[in-house]
Symmetry: D2
């Protein structure tokens, strides 16, 4: 995702006092987590243990949708709405926490859940740090 | 959107104590608002007054993405997560309030903004009522 | 989805020679099918027969994403690209046909698949008619 | 997007004869292009030359949605549908070509369009190579 910071650098207006490193990291983590959760939902479906992974699929689908939307909202700077940004970061942290916890339960048995739990933890952390940096 | 309630009625497991009428109304409002906001962003772009509508386009794009994701989360009942549902409803209300307020400023001049402001108000209200019903 | 035609009516520039009735119907069918497929994927996950419905879940997820994107593309008229519109309609018809066929196999056993098969058929037909009307 | 290949490696069933390197590259390019186009649409809105960039915003929005959906479809392997995959790759190439051409017109004047044109070209190429590899 090398373009995330390039797009911040070429934004033609004032970005305000945002922490660019943390914003870049959070946008990248959101898109990464959206892809990983989409793939984990599909891996669960093809797993011989699918009946144990039903809740995991559902958490994956929610987390993919919410990370993607959060990544989109964070990629827009025009008419910045601090309140909405904060609420989406909060919802994204909640989705990543829930999905990361669910995947972590299956991480020993299912490698795809281990990779996905890590992606969820990383995204949750990136959202948390950006939220703190927003003040 | 006649299928929303049909899909609730044919859900093969226990839906819990949810208020089906309010859930149906909220899912319908989310998808409706997502479409209207997508169309309003595009109408703003083709409007002769586009330079006055820049913030409106941005609000429309956020609101479309957030309504769509909220509509998807509400359409899933397996492994229901009350906390995540509440936070998405809250974020959706905030997005609809912001977009509705912005569109309302242009409603006298631009008919597409008037229609969109109404869709945003209706979706905000449906989210509020569902949130209250969730207890 | 009463706003779809209202947004077409309030579009501030020239819509060209499009068949408004068929465009309205197709946009509505895309958003309706996206919601129904999202709900059917979730219903399959909670069904006691989930292991027989794995392929159905996957078809539902693809169909939901493609219908939603097609509905968004059709909701934009600025800088209309006939070639891209046709290819998305084609892909949407293919997704709806595949998902409708898969759901139809389970329609006798699972009511949610019956409702979803109907939504897929309706959306496939609406895309086909709009494609024909585009010339 | 380091997880794309990790998720392919941990997929618990048979991936078939797919070219994993090209599939990985294409999924990564789709998510990257979706983010870049979302950011370019927003950069155009805040550009002093916005009135010259209206068609560019529209192309960006379509391309973001189509790349994202293509990236999701490619991230699923369960019940693989070669026909649908090919049609989405074709539509994605068309969207990337159109958006890349439009952004390229403004690349000398607007750095964000230069970065975005490159992302579109890269995604178009990755789709083309994967399509060829699918046979």
């Amino acid at each position: 995702m090398g373009n995330v910071s390039a797009m911040l650098d070429t934004y033609p207006a004032d970005l305000g006092h945002v922490d660019r490193a943390k914003l870049t990291q959070c946008i990248e983590a959101c898109f990464e987590c959206a892809q990983t959760c989409t793939a984990c939902a599909d891996a669960c479906l093809s797993d011989t243990g699918v009946v144990e992974l039903i809740k995991c699929v559902r958490s994956n689908l929610d987390c993919a949708d919410i990370c993607e939307t959060t990544g989109r909202v964070l990629s827009r700077h025009t008419g910045y709405d601090a309140n909405l940004t904060r609420q989406m970061l909060q919802a994204c942290m909640t989705a990543c926490k829930a999905c990361g916890d669910e995947c972590a339960k299956h991480a020993d048995m299912h490698e795809h859940c281990r990779v996905c739990a890590d992606a969820c933890r990383a995204c949750e952390q990136a959202c948390k740090e950006l939220l703190a940096a927003l003040g």
